[in-house]
């Protein structure tokens, strides 16, 4: 097992490097200086500014410094627009928020989606099954940026139950709508995947054997069927994670939660390359690490994988 994890880690490192170098090259080739303004800026001042941020150095030196900064000091570099802030400050502000509602969305999507899918498969062709299928089809056409306005319309403007935005240090009523908006489509996907795989598992021979030897249905499902049925769900967790990170941008913008996505879009509109690069690299790193975790989990659960 340890060897397997180490091998996976070794593969993850070049992936990370490719991500960092790719992002850096993109930013490096970006036309114009990040300090250029509409009014124009004297060349001497510009040269000074670029020297201060190390932008006058050759490409190799710049990228080397950037990577070393990230690896040794976890320093993602400065913001080119806000002189008194660097990327780490912004991440420090926004990341806890994103993490909070992201974590809850993930939990809700996996638990509710998994339970719904498994129930639907066990009660195949009953109203419960149809309800689950209906929900998952409906949620397919309601991506988070569509669901968010609808939720605010219903729960904030019409019913007045929940606030339509803000964060307030993460009080529960401020978390509910973002979590619903972010988790619904993934919950639906997980429900669909777990239903399909559970249906398949339930018709397989070892389940029939378990039933034939007289085990009660409950025990068959929990002891025998659950583990193999969850394998496809586990391999979906990686894409779901990427999707949630992407979706968090919409949540941050729409609900003004102050998460990391808000900074990303603001920096994209300001052409603040430093911040964009920092956030992309950070989220890419997280994604790669999460995929690693999923791989390990999968290998641990799936008896067919030998390591």
């Amino acid at each position: 097992m340890l060897v397997f994890i180490l091998k996976r880690l070794l593969v993850a490192i070049p992936v990370l490097l490719i991500l960092i170098v790719g992002t850096f090259i993109l930013m490096y080739t970006a036309p114009g200086s990040p300090f250029a303004t509409d009014r124009g800026i004297p060349p001497a001042v510009l040269a000074n500014l670029e020297a201060q941020y190390g932008l006058d150095q050759p490409f190799a030196v710049q990228i080397w410094r950037y990577i070393v900064g990230i690896v040794t000091e976890f320093d993602f570099g400065p913001s080119f627009i806000y002189r008194d802030q660097d990327v780490n400050d912004l991440i420090g502000q926004g990341f806890p928020v994103t993490l909070t509602y992201g974590f809850w969305s993930f939990v809700v999507a996996v638990i509710v989606g998994g339970a719904l899918g498994i129930l639907a498969a066990v009660k195949h062709n009953t109203w419960l099954d149809y309800l689950a299928v209906g929900i998952s089809i409906g949620a397919q056409v309601l991506p988070n940026f569509v669901l968010a306005p609808i939720l605010v319309l219903v729960f904030t403007l019409w019913l007045g139950w929940l606030p339509g935005g803000g964060w307030q240090g993460g009080q529960i009523e401020y978390i509910i709508l973002p979590v619903i908006a972010l988790s619904t489509s993934f919950m639906a996907s997980i429900a669909r995947i777990s239903r399909a795989s559970m249906l398949e598992v339930l018709t397989s021979n070892f389940i029939r054997t378990a039933r034939a030897k007289g085990l009660p249905m409950r025990r068959v499902i929990f002891r025998h069927a659950l583990k193999p049925a969850l394998l496809p769900v586990i391999s979906y967790l990686g894409p779901a994670f990427v999707g949630m990170i992407t979706g968090s941008v919409v949540i941050d913008i729409y609900f003004s939660t102050g998460g990391i996505g808000q900074f990303f879009v603001a920096s994209a509109l300001n052409r603040d390359y430093g911040v964009m690069m920092g956030i992309t690299v950070l989220l890419g790193t997280l994604t790669i690490l999460f995929n690693l975790l999923v791989d390990i989990l999968y290998a641990w659960i799936d008896p067919k994988i030998r390591y």
Partner: protein, 305 residues
Amino acid sequence: MFATKAAADNLAAAQPVKGRSLWADARARFLRNKAAVAGLIVLFLVTLFALLGPLIAPWNNEDIDWNVLGNVAEAGRPSLETGHWFGTDALGRDLFARTVQGTQISLMVGIVGALISVIVGTLYGAVAGYFGGRADAVMMRAVDVLMSIPYMFVLILLLVVFGRSMLMLFIGIGLVSWLDMARIARGQTLSLRSKEYVEAAIATGVKPFTIILRHIVPNLLGVVIVYATLLVPSMIIYESFISFLGLGVQEPLTSWGALINDGAAEMNNGTYWMLGFPLFFFVITLFGFFFVGDGLRDALDPKDR
């Protein structure tokens, strides 16, 4: 004796038995699927709306109705008298004309984006699967690497670095979305590679790329069509996502995402039609594509026979 002769004559005169081709079979299966047919009709109507809308719209999508401006919540309501069938947006522009335009652009982005990703993905996957071995390992490993990157951020980076234009949006969306297609095409190619007709082609000295284009790709078509149909709605969702953030299609052009964003921003004023109409078209189109895609999968996927 005569009886057999008559039977023989009958046989000779009878029409040759009409074979059911793969495609005829698939069409019959597709037409039996009510949801899929309904989806196809919806898509047809939405396309008609996009194409014929500009001809029947009484207002231009860029003109501001000055009678409405300043009192959009009252005067901008959907009504037949003012000619604003869908009402107006917050700036007094006719929402019917804008929805028509948004539909055109969203559909175009969806179809072109899906086309790019299908072409790139199919060729990439077919090449990887056909050559196999080390080339396959390297190429698919690259796909794995690209898949583990939050592509939406990269796409936004691209849009910011190279400027926000429709072209960049097409390229960006196409570039990040071919990965699934490549995997599917590769998997299919692996099983096609060992077919006799491919061996025959190799034996007669056909060049590898000709084999891929002539013999492999046409046989991938069924699977490719299914996933292309399912790709279009996800392209539309990507584009709407980016436009929702204000990074996609720029004014005066618009798309469903931009319209939904505008409508959502004005919701507090009670002007629900601004959200409702674009949302309606967005949702029914996605439904249409998903149902048609599912129907095609049931009709064409050899697994479910």
